[in-house]
């Protein structure tokens, strides 16, 4: 069982282009020789395709599997919002610094790149019989998470959460109460008591609609 899981991990690494030398040769050989390995290899790419586009090019006999996978993904996706990827990471405030030293610069826990990976991670759980990624033991580790995020994560890297910062954070509810808006505006008038919100903060407040006068 452990052997099988290890082999599947090798296939995962192979598809990520992470294998070299002997490991590479051995895994390629295994994939070409056994039906089970070939199936794993194909499913692995299929999962990647579904996650990336939702509409992969597949042969007719894969379509049933694809349908069920998409269904499972739809079921999993709402749960993902509650789980929130960042909670998977240690909540140490110094963490951001540590990550930089690890070579992954400036990625915040909730940046969309990481969310994508988590989607990949959860999708893999829904098809856990197919690909035995080591998510259970490794989910606390960002570098491990990167390995889970098969195929071309590179192509999908957006600027750090510019479009949706705070996604995956606690739900952002702000009831539009004119009284509260007025108080927010009054607070902003003195936002300049903060050094960061000096001239630059003025721009932020003048631009931001929330609680605008």
């Amino acid at each position: 069982m452990q052997e099988a899981a290890k082999n599947r991990e090798l296939i995962s690494a192979l598809a990520d282009g992470q294998l070299r030398d002997e490991d590479f040769a051995r895994t390629v050989e295994w994939v070409t020789q056994t039906e089970e390995a070939r199936l794993t290899w194909r499913t692995y790419h299929l999962v990647g395709d579904v996650l990336r586009s939702g509409e992969p090019v597949v042969s007719a006999r894969d379509s049933d599997f694809l349908q069920s996978l998409k269904l499972r993904l739809q079921q999993e996706a709402p749960q993902l919002r509650h789980v929130t990827a960042p909670e998977l990471i240690a909540n140490d405030p110094g963490m951001t610094g540590a990550r930089v030293q690890n070579g992954s610069k400036y990625w915040s826990a909730n940046d969309s790149r990481f969310r994508w990976k988590m989607l990949a991670g959860l999708a893999s759980l829904s098809t856990v019989a197919v690909i035995g990624w080591q998510i259970v033991s490794g989910w606390g580790d960002l570098s491990e998470a990167r390995q889970l995020a098969q195929v071309p994560v590179q192509a999908l890297q957006p600027e750090v959460g510019l479009t949706q910062p705070g996604v995956g954070a606690e739900p952002q509810r702000m009831i539009r109460d004119p009284q509260l808006d007025a108080l927010l505006a009054a607070h902003k008038q003195f936002g300049g008591t903060s050094a960061l919100q000096g001239p630059a903060g003025f721009l932020r407040n003048a631009t931001f609609e929330g609680g605008a006068p």
């Binding site: 009054a186 050094a195 721009l203 609609e209």
Partner: protein
């Protein structure tokens, strides 16, 4: 799968426990950073000088709380005078003009122009000097090399809070000018709560101060509104903060009219302002009115959090770019003296 979920729960629990411990033991830790790095004060001074010495035109984008707002910015400075025009590109049309500490916001739809004085903008240099020591006590600065923003190379640094009573900030500072070109507000888990950045930026742009001044003076056809304000002290108004929130100093206190509570112009709201140098908190205290004030609640919009609470005949609304726990600490420490 079960192990996975159990792990998540454990993580969430330990996060809560951690947050609680840090709040109760919120004493600032010692500041230790490599000597070679610039201090918080150096960086802030550099950023401040940038806005004083440069002219630029750009598009500024603020994202947080599920919203994306943007505005066109014109900034000009002749060494002594600063002028700025901010034209909103999203939401209701809004033009904001700033001449040093004087701010006019034109709302063309309601034909209203709001006139305010941003005392703190005028005071900024002094404020900066007074604050940088306090800031260094509660935030550690880390430099993270450089990155490109809006086409410019920028130094990246992070101000990490030493406790859980404040948020962290990641700042991108343009290498040549020192202008802050991007700012992220981060919670204790490193999540981006809010982000503000220039999406395009042009330095040494031909911005005419005279032209901006002309636009700013075109108030015909607009109704001028000014918030009524009277400087006071919390003590004089019968309020005291019995339990101080670490790092937050009282800055000023006003009795003011607040738009929205318009029905009774006589009613005034007390605004007591605190700051730790980077984040600010306003405590608004007004008489409790059952039909207007609902249940105590807390909300968040981007990095701005609010908390409401009833104090007998009074109603408190705490607002600030701080975690809800910090607002709760303020509410807990507040006491009526009279």
């Amino acid at each position: 799968m079960t192990r996975y979920i159990a792990g998540l729960l454990l993580m969430a629990l330990s996060a809560t426990a951690m947050a609680q411990t840090t709040i109760t033991a919120a004493a600032p830790a010692a500041v230790d950073r490599p000597i070679a790095e610039r201090s918080v004060g150096d960086w802030l001074q550099r950023m401040h000088d940038a806005s004083r010495q440069r002219a630029y035109v750009g598009t500024f984008v603020v994202a947080g709380g599920g919203r994306l707002s943007s505005a066109r910015i014109w900034h000009v400075c002749d060494g002594t005078q600063q002028m700025e025009r901010v034209e909103s590109l999203t939401g209701a049309p809004r033009s904001t003009f700033r001449h040093n500490d004087k701010v006019l916001t034109f709302l063309p739809e309601s034909r209203v122009v709001l006139a305010e004085k941003r005392e703190s903008l005028g005071l900024f240099p002094q404020l900066l000097q007074a604050n940088s020591a306090a800031i260094a006590q509660y935030y550690r600065v880390h430099e993270f090399g450089s990155e490109r923003v809006a086409g410019f190379e920028a130094d990246v640094l992070e101000l990490q809070p030493v406790d859980s009573l404040r948020f962290g900030y990641r700042i991108w500072i343009e290498k040549d000018t020192g202008l802050m070109v991007k700012l992220q507000t981060l919670n204790g888990r490193g999540q981006v709560l809010e982000q503000a950045a220039f999406s395009d930026l042009q330095f040494e742009a031909p911005v005419s101060m005279t032209k901006l001044a002309q636009m700013m003076s075109h108030t015909e056809g607009y109704k001028l509104e000014k918030p009524e304000m009277r400087k006071t002290t919390a003590e004089a108004e019968g309020w005291v903060l019995k339990q101080v929130v670490p790092g937050f100093q009282p800055m000023s206190c006003y009795q003011r009219s607040v738009k929205g509570s318009a029905q009774s112009q006589h009613e005034h709201t007390l605004q007591w302002i605190f700051s730790d140098g980077l984040a600010s908190v306003s405590l608004f205290i007004e008489p409790f009115v059952a039909r207007r004030h609902g249940q105590p609640a807390s909300q968040a919009l981007g990095a701005t959090h609010t908390l409401t609470r009833r104090f007998g005949d009074w109603w408190l609304t705490a607002v600030g770019e701080v975690p809800t726990e910090t607002l709760a600490a303020f509410a807990q420490g507040l006491e009526r003296q009279k």
